[in-house]
Amino acid sequence: MLTKRIIPCLDVQDGRVVKGTSFVQLRDAGDPVELASFYYREGADELVFLDISATPEGRETMADVVERISEEVFMPLTVGGGLRSTIDMRRMLRAGADKVAVNSAAVLTPVLISDGADKFGSQCIVVAIDAKRITSSEKPRWEVYIYSGQKPTGIDVLSWARQVVELGAGELLLTSMDADGHQAGYDIELTRAVSEAVPVPVIASGGAGTLEDIYQALIAGKADAVLAASIFHYGIYSIGETKEYLDRRGIPIRI
C-alpha cells in the first residue's frame, strides 16, 4: 500500500538555510547539505527546498547546493523558488533535483507548466499554490496569491488546481496562507476540496503544530503528503516521532 509522505521543507537563501534550526547534533545548522543528510537519516520521505534568494547569483548557488545534496542523500528532492523558464527547471533537474516547483511564474505564464511537462515529464512538475480563504464568500472559496503571498490574482484555487493538472502538473503543493505560520492546524477544508478536485497527489502545507494536525490533514484533508517546517526544524517533533504516531493511528507510513 502506498504510504503517506512526511516532507520537511527548507528555505534556502544564497546557499544557506534560513529560519535557523535548533539541532544541537549539527555542526552547522545553516548548511543545507548537513540538514538534508540529517533528515535523510531521520527517515524523511522527501525534501523540499525553496530558494528565496533574490539575486541571480543566489540562484546559481542553489544549483550547487542541490548538486552537493544529491551526492549524499538518496531520496526525492523538490526544488522551487524563482524558476521562470524550462532552462531554470533543467538546471535544477540536472543538478540532481527530481522535481521542480513553480508558483508565481506558472500563474503569469501557464504554458510553463505544459512546456515543463513535455520536456521533463509530468512527474517532475509540481505546481505550488498559495491559497487564501475569501471571507466574503458564503460557500467556502479560496483565492490564488502570488509573489510569496503578496499579490492576489482573482483566480479561484479549485479551478486553478484543475487547470494546472490539465496542463501537465504531476503534483500540487498546496499552502494555506491563513494557516501558515500559526501552528494551529492545516486548513482541512481547503486541503480536502483540492485533493478531491484533482487526480494527482496533493501535499498539504501550512499550519502544522501538532501530530494530530498532520493526522487530520491526511485523513480529513485527504492529502497524500504533508509538508512542515517549524515543527521539525525547531525539534518540536522528530520525523521518527511523527511517523510512529501516524503508524499507531493506522496511517500507512514508511517506518
Binding site: 538518496f74 531520496m75 497524500d224
Partner: protein, 206 residues
C-alpha cells in the same frame, strides 16, 4: 567497466551518485560499443517509454541492449528502463519497445491518484541475489503512471499493491529491472545496486 546509459533524459546524476557512493567508477555513455563491452549496464529513466525508445533507436542503442540481455550479460533497468524491455507500450497509442521480455506496458487503473508517487512496499516473490539483505516488504520510491505486465507471470520477482498488484521487480539471472527508483529509495535502494554490481562483477567472463 560499469556503464550508465545516457540517452539525454532521466535521473542520470542520481544513479551515478548512488553507484559512485558504493565505490565504483561508472562511465556515462551513449556509445553502442561501450554498452556491448561493459561488465554491467544500467539504464536509468524517467518520462515516457515511447520517447525513450525513440532516443535509444536514434543513438543506435536498441540492438546492443537487446544483445547484451539475450547473452545474459548483467543489465539493470530503472523505471522507464524496465518499461522499454517489454514488447510494447500502450502509452500514447501502441509503441513497440525492445521486446527483450514478452509483455505490455499498461496505464494504471483509474480510481487512485496518478502518478503512483511515493514509497510503497515490494513483496519478494522469488529468491534472487539482488534482494540480499533487503527485508521482504521493504519500501521503495515509485513515481509512474504506467506499469509493466509480463506475459510470463513467473518473471515477476517483486510485486507492489497499488489498487492492483503491479510488477515492481523483474529479476532473472543477470537481468534486473525495477519500476521504482533504487537511487531515491534510501539505503535499501543503494543495497540493490550493490547486490547487482557484486553479482555482475563476480560473474564476469573476462
Amino acid at each position: 567497466m560499469i556503464v550508465i546509459i545516457d540517452y539525454g533524459a532521466g535521473n542520470l546524476r542520481s544513479v551515478l551518485n548512488a553507484v559512485t557512493r558504493l565505490g565504483y567508477q561508472p562511465r556515462i555513455t551513449n556509445s553502442p560499443n561501450e554498452v556491448l563491452n561493459a561488465q554491467a549496464v544500467i539504464l536509468p529513466g524517467v518520462g515516457a517509454a515511447a520517447d525513450t525508445m525513440e532516443s535509444l533507436r536514434r543513438l543506435g542503442l536498441a540492438s546492443p541492449i537487446r544483445e547484451i540481455i539475450a547473452n545474459g550479460r548483467p543489465f539493470f533497468g530503472v523505471c522507464i528502463g524496465l518499461q522499454v524491455l517489454v514488447t510494447g507500450t500502450e502509452e500514447g497509442g501502441w509503441h513497440e519497445c525492445l521486446g527483450a521480455i514478452a509483455g505490455t506496458v499498461r496505464k494504471l487503473p483509474s480510481g487512485l491518484k496518478i502518478p503512483h508517487m511515493g514509497w510503497n512496499q515490494v513483496k519478494q516473490r522469488v529468491s534472487h541475489p539482488v534482494f540480499g539483505g533487503i527485508p521482504d516488504g521493504a519500501n521503495f520510491y515509485f513515481v509512474h503512471s504506467y506499469y509493466v505486465e509480463p506475459d510470463d507471470e513467473s518473471l515477476v520477482a517483486g510485486e507492489t499493491d497499488y489498487g492492483i498488484p503491479i510488477c515492481s521487480v523483474i529479476a532473472t539471472g543477470n537481468l534486473v529491472a525495477t519500476q521504482f527508483h533504487p537511487e531515491k529509495s534510501g539505503e535499501f535502494g543503494i543495497k540493490m545496486y550493490s547486490n547487482f554490481l557484486k553479482m555482475a562483477i563476480a560473474g564476469r567472463q573476462d
